[in-house]
Symmetry: C2
Subunit: 226 residues, 2 copies
């Protein structure tokens, strides 16, 4: 059993507020999992009874809409926690979490987390702030969905992907999303997404390297996104 004390990603989440005793306790009750790309960590409607701390790899949080399409609500990267909302609300998960890359995650049972809540005020304030940040993002995201065109949303999403997950040595976006997943992020049909990518490619704002995407003119792209 690895020690939570020495886990670096902890520093990036609400868990940084925990003291030594609490970290030892957590190390004692946690379970580590390896999740292969494409596999779910949990699914919409599932009761999770705890939270996951992402140690490595990125996953998508998505929801199946009534028209059968999978809308991606948020991407989660190492250091972030998963499943806080449903644990606090005492409800089944509202979103599915599926690995976009091979992942390592640790599961911490609800019981322990709830104890930290009552014992450690800084920890609960951290969690609150994270959820408040998620709420702001969700509100902003909602407004974009309602008011921006697909092209604007695509441009904004590409910039987000570069800034949040960086680029490879060849300058292409590090995080590999299929066209279908990218369409699921911006809320459009896969064909429309592909078409607009071609268009951005032709007008030299981006470059398509096979299925990889490279941002060429970030300023123009940013202006396009508003």
């Amino acid at each position: 059993m690895s020690k939570c004390e020495q886990c670096i990603v902890r520093q990036f989440s609400s868990l940084k507020a925990l003291n030594k005793a609490e970290l030892l306790k957590m190390a004692d009750c946690k379970t580590s999992y390896t999740i292969k790309k494409g596999e779910p960590i949990f699914e919409e409607g599932e009761v999770t009874n705890g939270i996951y701390c992402v140690k490595d790899g990125v996953c998508k949080l998505s929801k199946l809409s009534s028209n059968g399409k999978d809308q991606i609500v948020k991407l989660v990267k190492p250091g972030e926690l998963l499943g806080q909302r449903s644990m606090i609300s005492e409800e089944p998960a509202n979103l599915s979490a599926v690995a976009l890359e091979d992942m390592e995650v640790c599961f911490i049972p609800k019981k322990e987390i709830m104890q930290f809540f009552t014992q450690n005020n800084e920890f609960s304030m951290n969690v609150m702030k994270t959820i408040c940040g998620d709420l702001k993002d969700a509100d902003d995201h909602m407004v974009d969905m309602a008011q921006k065109s697909v092209k604007e949303r695509l441009a904004g999403t590409l910039i987000y992907l570069e800034e949040m997950f960086g680029v490879d040595t060849d300058g292409t976006l590090r995080l590999q999303l299929s066209r279908e997943e990218l369409a699921g992020m911006i809320g459009t049909a896969t064909e429309s997404c592909i078409r607009l990518l071609s268009e951005l490619n032709k007008s030299n704002l981006i470059e398509l390297v096979g299925k990889r995407i490279k941002i060429v003119d970030k300023n123009k792209l940013r202006r396009l996104a508003d």
Copy 2:
């Protein structure tokens, strides 16, 4: 200065967890305001330094999008708290709050609320649960915006308005929204909203009584909303 102890709406918000001493303290530091229909309580970008408890009347939380349209993110009714998110995040307000009816609200300074947070665990859990509920709603709302048609969203919104705010004696929706505001809720152009209302009227799912709206066939409307 009126007593918070005797305020009924308190029972419907996170504040129900406060004890007598805390309520007395709150009564002592709060400020009551009367807001006329159409007036703002606070605006996007403003630093509020506290929260508002809605005693009477309904308000909209909205955000101006880059295309100049006002997107309504949420409606807030008596008993609910306003401005919790930005207070906890220590950020300026992300949304504007504007009265849809004459309102009575009480302002409680941040200092006191933060004290309740550390003193009263039930209170902070209540606030957390409320924000988690808002986050779930926002995520679901976002998926609807991305995946549903305007007609589906209009149908869903009409049902929401009836269930949340009820109907007048003549059966029309109690909460009066202009067509522009209704369009702002569903995220569409005012003309499109008006046109779809006419269409629903002609197919006898709703009835238009002047500018008031009456739901006639709720089942069909619900099926339309998915």
